[in-house]
């Protein structure tokens, strides 16, 4: 979409006004500074997804809409989790982070911050695997997506 002030609110407003749900939405400028790229994760029947696609295309600021789930694509989300890291937990958390190929990016006497990247279900699985009481704080970016191979979204 055009990298214009208010473009994000047009998209967010469209979803709320028409009652579509947004599971996540990420947006940032691209290598072309006049363009932003947004990844929206939403859910609905084929008819609803078709309407969402059409309605998004109608927005003047939207240049192109692609349904990534129609074909092979890569989906990644970044999560930062602050966990308790005292006593037995200190070793346990390190091990869990390694198993899920996370990275510990901040260490204090009592806590770690674990950085984890992956598809949403992988991040969910990691949180599931942790002892709930050990989780102090989580922050997730929402998914960014890109088509595999020759599928290129370019203006």
């Amino acid at each position: 979409m055009e990298n214009e002030a208010g473009a994000l609110s047009r998209v967010a407003g469209l979803f709320s006004a028409r009652g579509y749900n947004i599971e996540s939405l990420t947006v940032a400028p691209t290598e072309d500074e006049t363009l932003s790229r947004m990844t929206i994760v939403t859910r609905g029947s084929d008819d609803v997804i078709e309407q969402i696609t059409k309605q998004l295309n109608k927005l003047i600021d939207v240049v192109k809409v692609v349904d990534l789930s129609e074909a092979g694509h890569i989906e990644r989300e970044l999560m930062l989790v602050k966990v308790r890291a005292e006593g037995e937990l200190r070793e346990e958390m390190k091990r869990m982070s390694d198993i899920f190929r996370g990275r510990i990016v901040d260490v204090t006497e009592k806590t770690y911050i674990i950085e984890l990247t992956g598809a949403g279900y992988k991040l969910d699985a990691f949180l599931e695997a942790l002892d709930k009481s050990a989780i102090l704080e989580t922050v997730r970016t929402g998914a960014s997506g890109i088509g595999r191979g020759d599928r290129i979204l370019k203006v």
Binding site: M1, E2, A5, G6, S9, R10, G13, A17, D47, E50, Q51, K54, Q55, N57, K58, I60, D61, V62, V63, V155
Partner: protein, 567 residues
């Protein structure tokens, strides 16, 4: 040459060939108004409320097909304009609304008369802009007119902070505009058009259903040619009236909640439905589940892909400008070797005539009270069907739509989508400015007319000889009707008590007022009101009508088209 932002605004409007700007001044637009004062390229029409400015621009746009322009100040001026903008948005009317904004330095500071106009109007505009630099004004306005008038038309708001109107910039009006993110489709897909033509030629029980898209794309003649060539029955939506001549035998009347029995039944029982510039909305097809018919195939032509397959499943979608697609289809049908099955078509028409013979629009013609339907019928006769008729919203709107036979497009001007009471009078002003010599009538109710009654002063200032036909039943009639049908006759707040003396009211604004109480006086009153003696005057005709009259037929909300309440 360097000009101020305000000068640029005015120059842009002149470049666009704008004839009328409907507006109301205020602090944030004083610089612009100062330039309006100094120019003579367009005429500024001072309304008495910003809502009316937008409705008037809207009425002008509907009556001409050109883009209407309104100019309002920031804050309350802008919020007053919102109802007008939403009205135009729902009916896809091309408008450019310029609103003043507080200076850029104080935006977000809760400044005096500040409101986030871009934020407030976002869900009810085709697009909107906040101009932050005088250098961007010309390009932005060029884009605004382009976006408003192309594709599926709609209102565009351009919000301009006061300091931007003061700042200087080089002025050059762009000749063209290209936007990578906005390229409306004109021509329909050839393959889809061929499929549609094949389906049309094979139809046994065809039905043509057309809406405002036909009027908007100036395709009435193309539609008429297409329909007559095929000999198919046709219906128009409330927004589509005049798209096909109402006096033509192939016309089955309006469809929908208050549509004719024959049109609604034909919609429900046809085997091929050709939808053209119409969007299957809830007032037209009722409940989509009840509307669904196994085996009926639907062809849908619309310039807006999002309108296709939104409410009903479609077999042949065609995205394109109605006029272009119709011309293409007509050509293919003329060239085709096969013709529609005439025997089947004859059987179908026999069925339709049977439905038509129920005479669903009949009403009591021997009543001692004035029947509102009678007033519209007589008005149709007196004006020979040639008037521009605007309406407000409610029972009177439906009666006007049902009983005034519109043979031409752009003659019927009403708020179909948003249903805005208070629309009729200012819209009539816009239509009269557009066609100074034409007869322009506003059919209204005593509820609706009071929502923008102040515009009688504007009419006086500009000598607009409108004819106001008030169907006065001392009730918010449509509300009362629903309360009678669905709320056990509990008339909650639908009674209009303490009405003004409309004759004196009209006179106090400098117009002619008339009060008509008996059926036998209706015709003579209309002849006088629309007659040559009062040609130059606004005439306010207050018809005291039967207050218990209901609009029929009626498809109750949530029901299907074949579940009508008849008289």
């Amino acid at each position: 040459m360097e000009l101020t932002g305000a000068e640029i605004v005015v120059r842009c409007l002149a470049e666009e060939g704008v004839e009328f700007v409907f507006g109301y001044p205020g602090g944030a637009v004083l610089n612009i108004y100062d330039e309006v004062f100094k120019q003579d390229k367009f005429k500024h029409v001072l309304v008495r409320h910003e809502q009316a400015a937008v409705h008037a621009a809207d009425g002008y746009a509907r009556a001409t097909g050109r883009t209407g322009v309104a100019l309002v100040t920031s804050g309350p001026g802008a919020t007053n304009a919102v109802t007008g903008i939403a009205t135009a948005y729902m009916d896809s009317i091309p408008l450019v609304v310029i609103s003043g904004q507080v200076p850029t330095a104080v935006i977000g500071m809760d400044a005096f008369q500040e409101v986030d106009m871009v934020g407030i109007t976002r869900p009810c505009v085709k697009h909107n802009f906040l101009v932050k630099d005088a250098n961007d004004i010309a390009e932005t306005l060029k884009k605004a007119f382009y976006i408003a008038s192309t594709g599926r038309p709609g209102p565009v708001v351009v919000d301009i902070p006061k300091d931007v109107t003061q700042a200087k910039a080089e002025f050059a009006y762009p000749k063209k505009v290209a936007m990578r993110s906005y390229n409306p489709v004109i021509k329909g897909h050839t393959g889809q058009i061929k499929r549609a033509v094949q389906m049309i030629l094979e139809a046994k029980r065809p039905m043509i259903y057309t809406g405002g898209g036909v009027v908007l794309s100036n395709a009435a003649e193309d539609l008429t040619r297409f329909t007559r060539l095929l000999g198919f029955p046709i219906t128009n939506t409330l927004m589509g009236l005049g798209g096909y001549p109402a006096t033509d035998p192939q016309f089955t009347g309006m469809l929908g909640m208050h549509g004719t029995y024959e049109a609604n039944m034909a919609m429900q029982h046809c085997d091929v439905l050709i939808a053209i510039g119409a969007r299957f909305d809830d007032r037209v097809i009722g409940n989509p589940e009840h509307f669904f018919q196994d085996g009926r195939r639907i062809i849908h032509i619309d310039i807006d892909p999002a309108s296709i397959a939104k409410r009903v499943k479609v077999d042949v979608p065609i995205v394109g400008n109605v006029k272009d697609v119709l011309a293409e289809m007509t050509k293919l049908i003329q060239a085709a070797k096969e013709k529609p099955d005439q025997v089947a078509l004859k059987t179908w028409w026999t069925q339709i005539e049977l439905w038509r013979s129920r005479d669903c629009m009949k009403y009591d013609r021997s009543s001692s009270l004035i029947k509102p339907q009678y007033v519209i019928e007589k008005m149709y006769e007196v004006t020979r069907g040639e008037a521009y008729v605007t309406s407000d919203v409610g029972q009177h709107q439906m009666w006007a739509a049902q009983y005034y036979k519109f043979d031409q497009p752009r003659r019927w001007i009403n708020s179909g989508g948003l249903g805005t009471m208070g629309f009729g009078l200012p819209a009539a002003m816009g239509a009269q400015f557009a066609h100074p010599d034409a007869t322009v009538a506003c059919v209204t109710g005593e509820g609706s007319i009071q929502m923008n009654i102040q515009e009688l002063a504007t009419c006086k200032q500009f000598n607009l000889p409108l004819k106001i036909v008030l169907l006065n039943n001392r009730y918010l009639g449509m509300v009362r009707q629903w309360q009678e049908f669905f709320y056990g006759n509990r008339y909650a707040e639908s009674y209009m008590d303490a009405l003004p003396d409309f004759v004196k009211l009209a006179e106090s604004y400098g117009h002619v007022g008339m009060r008509i109480e008996k059926p036998e006086d209706v015709e003579s009153a209309l002849k006088e009101g629309f007659g040559p003696e009062l040609k130059e005057r606004l005439v306010f005709m207050n018809f005291i009508t039967d207050r218990t009259e209901n609009v029929c037929p009626m498809v109750p909300a949530g029901k299907g088209l074949s579940e009508m309440i008849l008289v």
